[in-house]
Symmetry: C2
Subunit: 424 residues, 2 copies
């Protein structure tokens, strides 16, 4: 029976029962973590071959380059070819970074501020106001970069097909709007795949700002956990074809393919953009870690081999997502107090509660010893205007712990809803 | 006989002979590189143990952390302890970077511009003028960072004991002077070790700028190639004791200990500075590559083990420096056309020619197929006011190639001198 159909007495009876469950869970002294999209130990153990991919000096030589020594600012050619195949772009459009694509993203924004982008009239630090479009719910670390640089973040509503493009097309008429964050495949946290129509409209934007920066974080480009690999279009080609050749910077990494703490990353953009950025990047490094690039190329080989590996990750991930969704289906769906997405890839399950329950639910979870991403984190400035979005990250705990954690979550969500309905 | 004592006929005869040598060398079609401080293959082959230091999941676990996964923004505690021992500072003063300390240096400057430092009144991007002290001859990549950010670089003369401290103390009275580049041990390119007195005066500076940034690039802190390890003082303690606790950021790396393209780096500063920077760095990364940190700690172990390794590097490096200096002693010293330092560590030999010969000498070298660091590179804006400083980097070529290369250099230097003297 839906809570909204219950009368006061029924709600009170349900509250008493759920409160009892809550106290019982609390007494267990749990310590569980569903806060971040961290791969599990079992996943990391799949890729130990990275550790032994290079063991001798001879193996460190590749195409006339000694990966151990200085040089090759843009990265090893074989690494650029590897990521070009994954992303469907050209090797010369790829710049190889270190273990964090986040650092490459930050660096792009930072250079926009200190030096300006290829088509900037001046560095953004010299502007009175920089606005950035933030489809939300979205990735908290994107929003924190924007916030750190003092940008004015404009929330764009997410739909089932990606950002609300009517709103985006309207917003970019403002020359102070300098860019947009996007996670086009298995968006963080909702797991939405931008539709072809959405992507086409994004590539064809006509922003007033000549240096509009489309931040295309393709973090989950090959990260299906349910079903076969879903092809995605090359945003760099699409932007070029739409007359915006230098509008997009795309990012990806092996953080959730090999090791989160020791993978490799890529920044892909037009040849002109890469050339411009190399001029600036050459001041700050002689190259990112090429030995690790070569380890990865030797181990991951190519797209086909990598997709095989992703199937093994999927086999570990799927039961966890199933556990979360089936608990929600069983425990919460009948009560009508929340809705959730059923992603087929990525790292998160996004739950929208009745308005005003997210903070309270997570506070209750914390009381019981279950840590989750903070309420509001998926919105600009950490403020969810309806206080309803909760990001569940099921990847790290083993299934048995996860089942406990999601049971706690369901109990806390019910309790929060009952508190609210009883107070109404 | 010194060239300056020769009469016109003698000079012409010498010119004819040297020009003949030059043509003969040119005919050889050489292709030799003394341009950058790159370790040689023999040195890289010394440290293959890094490649096999971690081969299993179990080995990636350390002090409760899985080095493969996300986390530990400041770096693995064992890596921070390792570098604290090398630098003589505290582990909590160390932040672990990726394979390039240059990137950490750039990032510090960049953050000064975008966010300001701990004691900045405002981000440097908001200032009309930022001046930086550049002891010269110095490291070209330092000067390029300053130039990239549009700083006004103020040249400070280098003495045998480090920067001319009278000039430095005078210069820092200007509040627009925001910092200084230093390579305190085996300075690039001269191989000068700053004297205790110089270091004491630096630590005790009273800059007008509250956020004066002492960039202490300790790149060659353990890089003796001739003789035993030379202890150096902990600049962080010295600054603290002198009442400047947050003035200095120190940098070091394993680029010339293990692999230039795949080492680890450190930024060390006061606990308050590190705390402040972690607040900013946490926006751009979740940590630098911890697996590589752990590989290095397992392989290098501690200072004593590392110093043993540096002895092996020295055994490869010393014959190369000897070849350079003995060729100069034999071929150039009697002619009185140049002077040079005799470093006991670091990666360079610095030659000062008669005024006005550096560019021409290097152009001649290039004609013969010997690439060297561009003339002027060791000065701000790439302009050597006396056109005389030449940086020789003997580390990369094998000794037999190096002997050829330095012979070319001597011939070209003679030819340049003779051209000039004959034209006078």
């Amino acid at each position: 029976m839906e809570y909204s159909s219950m009368n006061k007495a029924q709600l009170q009876a349900e509250y008493d029962a759920v409160a009892k469950d809550f106290e019982a869970l609390k007494a267990k002294g749990l310590k569980l973590d569903m806060s971040r999209g961290k791969p599990s130990k079992a996943q990391l153990d799949l890729v130990s071959g990275v550790l032994t991919a290079l063991t001798t000096p001879e193996e460190c030589a590749v195409e006339g380059t000694d990966a151990r020594n200085y040089g090759e600012l843009a990265g090893l050619p074989c690494a650029r070819r590897y990521f070009a195949e994954i992303l469907g772009c050209k090797p010369e459009e790829c710049f190889m970074g270190g273990n964090a694509s986040l650092t490459l993203m930050y660096d792009t924004i930072s250079k926009a501020y200190t030096h300006g982008l290829l088509h900037s009239e001046k560095p953004w630090a010299k502007l009175d106001k920089v606005k950035f479009l933030c489809p939300a719910p979205g990735y908290d670390r994107h929003f924190k970069i924007s916030q750190s640089f003092g940008m004015e973040m404009i929330t764009i509503e997410m739909t089932e097909n990606g950002p609300d493009m009517d709103a985006v097309e309207e917003a970019v008429k403002d020359p102070a709007v300098k860019g947009m964050w996007c996670v086009p495949k298995y968006s963080n946290p909702e797991g939405v795949i931008y539709s072809d129509e959405t992507i086409r409209r994004i590539a064809a934007l006509k922003p007033a700002a000549p240096d509009f920066l489309l931040m295309w974080d393709n973090a989950y480009c090959i990260h299906e956990f349910d079903g076969d690999f879903v092809p995605f279009p090359d945003i760099i080609s699409l932007c070029r074809e739409a007359g915006n050749p230098d509008m997009v910077f795309e990012y990806a990494s092996t953080s959730k393919v090999t090791f989160p703490g020791a993978g490799i990353s890529v920044m892909a953009s037009s040849v002109d953009n890469i050339k411009y950025m190399l001029g600036l990047l050459g001041i700050q490094t002689i190259s990112y870690d090429k030995v690790n690039q070569l380890r990865h190329v030797r181990f991951l080989k190519d797209k086909a081999t990598t997709l095989e590996l992703m199937k093994k990750h999927a086999a570990i991930m799927k039961p966890k997502f199933d556990a979360v969704v089936s608990a929600l289906d069983k425990e919460i769906a009948p009560l009508g107090i929340a809705q959730w997405k059923r992603p087929k890839g990525g790292y998160f399950v996004s739950v929208d509660t009745m308005d005003g329950l997210a903070k309270r639910t997570l506070a209750l979870c914390k009381e019981v010893g279950v840590v989750m991403t903070g309420a509001g984190a998926t919105f600009p400035y950490g403020v969810d205007p309806r206080d309803r979005n909760i990001r569940i990250a099921p990847s790290l705990p083993p299934v048995e712990e996860l089942e406990q954690a999601i049971a706690v979550f369901c109990t806390c969500l019910k309790l929060a809803a009952l508190e609210k309905l009883l107070a109404a």
